[in-house]
Subunit: 163 residues, 6 copies
């Protein structure tokens, strides 16, 4: 059985992530979506919320499982029995960072392959960081994230603003 | 009447910005220079000071107006009746970020075009962040920013150091 | 009156070119589409055919004019009374080449500005060269070029193959 | 059964190609190495010779098959029943070209996924074109291609030089 | 006598840094390794510790001297009587930043040349930031930094975690 | 004695080349400018003419010598007793190609270091290929090449056109 890990912070999950999940799920028998804690980035949503969002939005894909993690990515992939780590590529800036990570990961465990997929070109400019920035100014984010996530981002930003 | 918006933080305004302003002003009937508040970047100069610097340095260009803004760039451009957003390109790193922004902005409002201009090649390495870094160590910044701005940066850094 | 020049070989004209033409036409009062002879590239279509294709496909945009040229781009732009040269940007590879050209063009005539526009992200991977390569192997090119152009490319490739 | 296609000209096959073949073979049940005819590039070795080299060098990997092709890559992948196309990434220049191809291929057949793998970092600078250039000047190519291929390249270049 | 300066934070010194030091030392009569204070980056090791690490690891190269500095790089290079600043290049992201810095440094002092060297390709993905991230999750860093530095990084991270 | 080799085709020598020569000559005791034959590029000027141009234009720099070569660059550098190969970097496209070459050259001879220098930013867009293209259309090239070379390029292009 081929197992793949697709790691991310998913704060929030975007249509670009959804596209990579759909593509990745076809490459393996079981796709583990690893949701990183990432407290240093002060995420908008808690780890539990983000795991819940990804589970709900990917519920229609049968061979996907969502697992939170707070570990070195390579250790997480080993613990899950994965033979590949799946990464979405959007642009050259991604590429550089990913190549550096993949190069060091080759040294950490040469048995687990990093596999790069390309999101649908129309979705490539979408970045979680920009989604949050747009929403914080009251801009429309419905074209960038799943419908329910868009509402959740708006609610959370409104709640934070009241504090 | 064609209106363009050239947004930035201008902390401080550099000769590279000045060059893009001069180029942009020729492309439109009215050029709105939008000065972003950007409190998260802890700017060296207050919003009022930065608006003042840009107004003074661009005073010789008749069709330029300087307007502060604290909003989504696309909303600001809409409010100003702009048909284009002008961005300066310096290097590939800029290009990547700008392309991602422009791609999302195409989704937000497809009527407002993002237009990229290239500063004079001799001015392309200039970045506000590096200007401040050089000045903080007592380096000469006169070749990078307008003369009066150079003095103001030096004064502010000296004042901050005394605190 | 603001005049812009959008130069290219248009062998064949693609949906990416069409998108840049539509965007460019809104930035100026009159948009001259300059069709370069480019004999060194052994184009699939003659200069007359390419001018014809562009004229037909852009006929619905009132302020567009199609003009063949066999000259230095900057001289052509000067002869047309243009104040800007419009270029479409797709990716970093384009960017590099365009920046080099624009940098030399700044030296040739600093009064004519090079302006970069970004095609709709979904159209960015389209390149005339790849369209011809796909068609030469009998692949479907209808998503990449205007409908009538797709038929013309197929016909020409079939005719050439018979020779 | 998951089938992948790894296309190339392999003129000659390098240690970088060998590395991608080994990595790709682990991702699928059957890996088809597609050797493109590419007459326009005037290859050093005939199609038959290149197929032979790849077969010999990859003989130790049980789930690999070598197939020549003279067709659109996407048509070849469809004919082989592949669900993925495997491409090696070395550097940003590759990335740009590959992204453009993959973007157009998404339009041609959205069911066949392009998957990018990264060769061992130590092998990334190796390019067939540079190997031939080095060999043509009598330089040592043993660190870049399999041992027998190195000898074959030297022999062919010597034979060509005599003509 | 030719003097070169190789500046960095060295938090911690990696095998990539070691490789550039070895290469740089051959280009000049005396190589000053400048260790920057960089308090804004909250380094893992104190300035004294980092100077100590670099001195110990480079002790076998006779024409190397390690000097801490808290100044503009160009002023430091001038004070050391250097005619060149040596920088290691790993990837395009580095390149962009370095080019911007070098461009501004050409303006600050055109007599001191910035010289770029390329680390051994196998060492290029190594970055101090990623080494610390891997170590913070208990990953093995022995392939990325000198042996004694690996132990020191592990000890410091363990000590910090106890606080 | 430190010897460096600066290789190129110099068809024609540009102000960008001149700038790298001046910078490179300060880094070594003796700078060998290697002029490559490059018949495959059908140069505008013969090897003898190009050697003559470089000698004349660099005559004011005492430690420079001009040597034609038709060999592998690394073999030429070895034959000249060089310890470094000097390359000018202009942009990311250059960088990619140069990195690939330098990576293979590290394997061919690890004792000869490739050293990258950055031309004056104002000269970075200049490329011999574009200079010839501009001149072939009667454009002014005086800002891109030495004065006498500009005349020689114009004369040669006029002579070729008469044929």
């Amino acid at each position: 059985m081929r197992i793949g890990v697709y790691p991310g912070t998913f704060d929030p999950i975007t249509l670009g992530h959804m596209d990579i999940i759909a593509r990745g799920a076809k490459l393996v028998d079981r796709l583990i979506i690893g949701v990183a804690t990432n407290p240093s980035k002060s995420p908008l949503f808690t780890l539990e919320e983000r795991v819940g969002h990804v589970q709900r939005e990917a519920a229609h894909i049968s061979n996907v499982e969502v697992v939170p993690f707070d570990a070195l990515l390579m250790h997480f992939a080993e613990a899950q029995g994965a033979s590949m780590i799946i990464r979405g590529l959007r642009a050259v800036a991604d590429f550089e960072y990913e190549f550096q990570m993949a190069g060091m990961n080759q040294q950490l465990n040469s048995e687990i392959e990093t596999v790069f997929l390309m999101a649908d070109v129309a979705l490539q400019p979408i970045a979680s960081r920009l989604v949050k920035e747009i929403a914080s100014y009251g801009g429309a984010i419905d074209k960038f994230v799943p419908t329910r996530v868009a509402a959740e981002v708006r609610d959370r930003i409104a709640t934070n603003a009241e504090k």
